[in-house]
C-alpha cells in the first residue's frame, strides 16, 4: 500500500493512497465537522459541513468525497469555512421543527452538539415550520419527519450494511422526505427486517425507539464498524472461494 504525504492545516501528515481527505485528517487527529458522513458508510456529501479549502483551487471541496493526493495543501479551518459551517447548521435548524426541549435525543443529538461546537447560538433565517407527520405505526420504532435532516444515513446503512433497502427518499427540495418501501407506513413494510440499524445511525431524533421520552434516546452506532471490520477480514476468504 503506497503512502502519501500531504499538509493539513500546516501539519505534514501521511496517509494511505485512496483514503479521503477526511479520513487522513481524522487519523492525524484533526477533526473536521460532519453530519451526514459516518465511518463505515459510503460518503454522501450532503451536509457540506466537511468542506475544506485546497491550495490552488477556488472552490471548496467536501473532504469526505475528495481523495487525498500527494502534496495536497488542505485548510480545514478558516474564517470563511467556519462562517459557512455555522450558516449550514442554522439552515438545518430553520428547515424543520427542531424543538430540543421536547425531543427524545435532547442532550445526545449530533445536530445539537454540532450547533454548540460551532457556536451557533441563534438562527438568523426564517423558521420554515413545515407541517410534517410522524410514523409511529411500527411496534418497535418511530419516525418523526420534523427532526429529520435528510442525511440519508438510514438509507445507506439499510442498503449497504443490512442489505434490505427499506429506506429511500422521495420528493425534492424542501419537500424531500425519507420513505419506507414505496412510501408506506413502517408497520406495513415487507422489506424491513426490524434490525434497528437505521435508528442507531440516525444523528438526530428522527428515528427512535418507541417508549422513550425526552432525552432518553441514546444512540449507539459502534456495531457498524464491528460489522465492517469483520467483513473486511472475511473478504479474502470469500474471494478465494469464488475463484
Amino acid at each position: 500500500m503506497s503512502v502519501i504525504t500531504l499538509t493539513i492545516d500546516g501539519h505534514l501528515v501521511s496517509g494511505r493512497a485512496g483514503q479521503s481527505v477526511l479520513e487522513v485528517s481524522r487519523d492525524a487527529g484533526i477533526e473536521i465537522p460532519t453530519l451526514c458522513w459516518l465511518e463505515g458508510l459510503s460518503p454522501w456529501g450532503g451536509c457540506r459541513l466537511c468542506v475544506v479549502e485546497l491550495k490552488g483551487e477556488q472552490r471548496l471541496f467536501t473532504s469526505c468525497t475528495t481523495v487525498a493526493a500527494e502534496g495536497m495543501h488542505v485548510v480545514t479551518r478558516s474564517a470563511r469555512l467556519e462562517n459557512y459551517r455555522r450558516m449550514l447548521v442554522e439552515l438545518l435548524l430553520a428547515e424543520r421543527n427542531h424543538y430540543c426541549a421536547v425531543c427524545v435525543v435532547d442532550g445526545h443529538c449530533e445536530l445539537q452538539s454540532m450547533a454548540a461546537r460551532l457556536g451557533v447560538d441563534h438562527v438568523r433565517f426564517d423558521y420554515l415550520n413545515p407541517p410534517l407527520p410522524m410514523d409511529i405505526s411500527h411496534d418497535l420504532f418511530g419516525l418523526d419527519h420534523n427532526r429529520c435532516i435528510l442525511c440519508t444515513r438510514c438509507v445507506r446503512v439499510c442498503d449497504e450494511v443490512e442489505g434490505a433497502h427499506t429506506w429511500d427518499v422521495r420528493g425534492r427540495g424542501t419537500t424531500e422526505r425519507v420513505v419506507i418501501d414505496l412510501d408506506r407506513p413502517w408497520k406495513e413494510s415487507t422489506s424491513c427486517t426490524r434490525c434497528g440499524k437505521c435508528v442507531q445511525v440516525c444523528p438526530v431524533g428522527a428515528l427512535f425507539h418507541k417508549g422513550v421520552t425526552v432525552g432518553e434516546m441514546v444512540k449507539d452506532n459502534s456495531f457498524l464498524m464491528d460489522i465492517i471490520k469483520r467483513r473486511r477480514s472475511a473478504q479474502p476468504f470469500v474471494e478465494r472461494r469464488r475463484s
Partner: protein, 572 residues
C-alpha cells in the same frame, strides 16, 4: 453499407429532389405544430391530390425555420432555386399558395418574409444548417445533404487521436453552459484506460424559456447521432445514450426513428459503414427535472437511479456510467461535430473571438419584434442580436436588460449592450453564456421580481441533497418575497448576499452554486431598485403590489389602497 453506397444514396436523394418542380416546406417544429402546421400540411396534400399534381409538387414536413414568433411557417422552393418564405400561414392560405406557386406565380405579398430580413441575413448557420431544410424523419434527406459523410471520413481516413485533435483545433467548447473545451474532454476520455466507455448526449434542456436543444433534436436528429458516433469512435466507446427531457415527445419520437433508420442502413450498429467500429445508441427519457441536466445526476438517472448529483471529482471522464469513463456533451456541441469535420476545423475556428469559436444557438425571446431560434457567430454584440437579428424592441418598449443563462445566469443591462457575446465577456459581467436562453426585457420588467422568479424556479428544482441549496434557496426566496411585498427591513439585502455566497460556494452541484446568479447580477446593476422597494415601497417598473407593508409605514389613504389591492389579489 459502405462509403460508396453512401455516396450513391446521396446522389439518388439529390436526384429525387430535383425531379420535383415545387416543394412546400412546412415547419413541423413544436412552435409551428402548436400553431397549426398539421392543418396546413393536410390542406396542401389534399390540394395536390385534388389537382393531380403528385410527383411534381411535394410537401415536406421540416424542422424549425424561424422566426418562431411568426408561425406557422411555410417556405416554397422552385426547381430553379427561387425560394419564398411565408409567415402566419392558414390552411385557406395554403390552398392559395398551392394554386399560385403551381402556376409559377407568387403568393400574397403581405405574408411574405423578405429574404433580406436581418433575422435571416445576420445568422450564420452551422449546427442548424439543415434545420427547416430537411425532413427530420427521412434519413435520405439528411444523406442528400452530405449526412454521415463526416463519419465516413473519420472512420476511414482518420485515427481516433486525429479526430480529437481536429475537434480541439476547431476551438469548440461545451454548449451545455460550462464552456469546457470539447477537444480536451475527448482527449481525456480517449486516454482513459477501461474495459468499456460510453458517450452521452445531454438533451435534457431544463432552462425555462429555452428550446435550442429541442429544436435541434426535432429538426435534425441524424446530425446528433452522427456526432455521437464520431465521438464514440474518437474516444473508443461502443455505446451511446441520448438523454431527452420527458416533455420533448416529438424530439424523442424523431430520434427513435432516426436511430432505427440509421441502424437499418448500417450507419450505426455492429459494423458502422463497413468498418470494424461498433456503435449503438439508446434513447433515455427524463422525467422533467432541471437537475437531471447536471451530468452526474443525468448519469444516475440513466442507470435507473434517482437523479441526484454526486460530488465531482471523480469527473465523468474518469468515472461515469457504471464506473467507466464517459464522455458527456450537450446535443448542440455534438451537433457541431459533423459540420466541423466536413468544412474543416479551421473554418469553424475562423468564426468568433480569440477564445470562443464558431457559432451559438440562442432562443431569443421576450420583448423583441422577431423572436425565435437563432444561430449567430460568437463575438456578435448583444446590440446586434437585439436590434439586428431580433428586429429591435417590441412596439412601445425600450431595452432594460437581457437575461442569459436562465436561472443560472444573470442580466446584462443597457450600458453593456455592446459587449461581445462570448464565454469570458459574459462571465465578467456576472452572467454566463449558458445553454442559449436569451430573454430580452423592457422597462416594464421589475428586476427584483425577475430575480424572485428564478429563485422560485430553483427552490422548486433543487434536488434536496444538500442543505445550502435545499433550504438556502427557500430562505433567499423568502427575503425576495418580503422585498417585493413591502415587509422587508434594512439589512435584508446583506443577509441575502450572505446566503448567496454560501449557496455559491458550499453547494454540491451547479444548480445550487449558480442559483444566486440572478440575484447577484440584479443587485450589481439594479441595486437602486431593491432600495426603492425596501425604503419607499415603490416598484419602479410598476410590477410589485406591496400587499404586506407594515401598517405603521402607511398613511390612511395608502392603507386603504393596500387593503383594496390585497383583496383584489386574494380574489384572483
Amino acid at each position: 453499407m459502405n462509403r460508396a453506397e453512401l455516396d450513391q444514396l446521396r446522389d439518388r436523394a439529390r436526384q429525387a429532389k430535383g425531379e420535383q418542380r415545387v416543394r412546400f416546406l412546412v415547419c413541423y417544429s413544436t412552435p409551428c405544430l402548436s400553431s397549426g402546421a398539421p392543418a396546413i400540411r393536410a390542406a396542401l396534400e389534399e390540394g395536390i391530390a385534388e389537382e393531380g399534381r403528385k410527383g411534381e409538387v411535394a410537401v415536406v414536413a421540416t424542422g424549425c425555420m424561424g422566426p418562431c414568433s411568426r408561425g406557422p411557417r411555410v417556405t416554397v422552393q422552385h426547381r430553379g432555386g427561387q425560394e419564398t418564405a411565408y409567415e402566419r400561414v392558414t390552411p385557406e392560405m395554403a390552398r392559395v399558395l398551392l394554386r399560385r406557386h403551381a402556376a409559377d406565380e407568387e403568393g400574397p405579398p403581405e405574408h411574405v418574409l423578405a429574404p433580406d430580413l436581418p433575422y435571416f441575413t445576420r445568422q450564420t448557420r452551422w449546427v442548424l444548417e439543415n434545420s427547416g431544410r430537411v425532413d427530420p424523419e427521412n434519413i435520405a434527406d439528411y444523406i442528400g445533404r452530405d449526412g454521415y459523410a463526416a463519419l465516413g471520413r473519420a472512420l476511414h481516413e482518420m485515427t481516433p487521436e486525429e479526430v480529437c485533435e481536429a475537434i480541439a483545433r476547431s476551438g469548440l467548447r461545451g454548449r451545455g453552459g460550462g464552456g469546457y473545451p470539447t477537444g480536451l474532454k475527448w482527449h481525456l476520455v480517449r486516454k482513459a484506460r477501461a474495459e468499456r466507455k460510453f458517450v452521452v448526449a445531454n438533451g435534457d434542456e431544463g432552462d425555462p424559456g429555452a428550446y435550442m436543444d429541442r429544436t435541434l433534436m426535432e429538426s435534425d436528429p441524424h446530425k446528433i447521432l452522427e456526432g455521437m458516433a464520431i465521438a464514440g469512435y474518437a474516444v473508443g466507446a461502443d455505446k451511446g445514450f441520448i438523454y431527452v427531457r420527458g416533455e420533448y415527445a416529438v424530439a424523442a419520437k424523431r430520434l427513435e426513428k432516426a436511430i432505427r433508420d440509421a441502424e437499418r442502413l448500417g450507419l450505426l450498429g455492429a459494423r458502422v459503414l463497413d468498418s470494424s467500429f461498433r456503435f449503438r445508441i439508446d434513447l433515455r427519457l427524463g422525467a422533467g427535472a432541471f437537475v437531471c441536466g447536471e451530468e452526474t445526476a443525468l448519469m444516475n438517472s440513466i442507470m435507473g437511479g434517482r437523479g441526484n448529483p454526486s460530488p465531482r471529482p471523480p469527473y465523468p471522464a474518469q468515472r461515469g456510467l457504471w464506473n467507466q469513463p464517459t464522455l458527456i456533451n450537450n446535443v448542440e456541441t455534438l451537433g457541431a461535430v459533423a459540420p466541423i469535420l466536413r468544412h474543416g476545423p479551421e473554418a469553424f475556428a475562423a468564426i468568433g473571438t480569440a477564445k470562443s469559436k464558431g457559432t451559438k444557438i440562442f432562443a431569443l425571446v421576450g420583448e423583441v419584434r422577431t423572436a425565435g431560434l437563432i444561430e449567430v457567430p460568437m463575438g456578435i454584440t448583444l446590440r446586434e442580436i437585439v436590434e439586428g437579428v431580433g428586429g429591435g424592441m417590441s412596439e412601445g418598449e425600450t431595452f432594460k436588460a437581457a437575461q442569459t443563462g436562465g436561472p443560472s445566469g444573470g442580466c446584462i443591462p443597457r450600458e453593456h449592450l455592446d459587449t461581445p457575446v462570448d464565454y469570458e465577456s459574459l462571465t465578467a459581467l456576472g452572467s454566463i453564456m449558458g445553454s442559449g436562453g436569451l430573454i430580452v426585457m423592457g422597462q416594464k420588467s421589475c428586476m427584483v421580481d425577475v430575480a424572485k422568479y428564478f429563485m422560485d424556479f430553483c427552490l422548486d428544482e433543487s434536488c434536496g441533497k444538500c442543505i445550502p441549496c435545499r433550504a438556502g434557496t427557500v430562505e433567499m426566496h423568502r427575503i425576495l418575497e418580503r422585498i417585493t411585498s413591502g415587509s422587508a427591513v434594512e439589512g435584508e439585502i446583506e443577509r441575502l448576499e450572505e446566503l448567496c455566497a454560501l449557496a455559491r460556494e458550499a453547494s454540491l452541484c451547479g444548480l445550487g452554486a449558480t442559483a444566486p446568479n440572478p440575484v447577484l447580477a440584479t443587485l450589481r446593476y439594479f441595486r437602486d431598485e431593491y432600495h426603492a422597494h425596501i425604503r419607499e415601497h415603490r416598484c419602479p417598473a410598476g410590477v410589485c403590489r406591496f400587499t404586506d407593508v407594515p401598517r405603521e409605514h402607511l398613511g390612511d389613504r395608502q392603507a386603504a389602497q393596500m387593503q383594496s389591492a390585497r383583496s383584489e389579489m386574494e380574489g384572483i
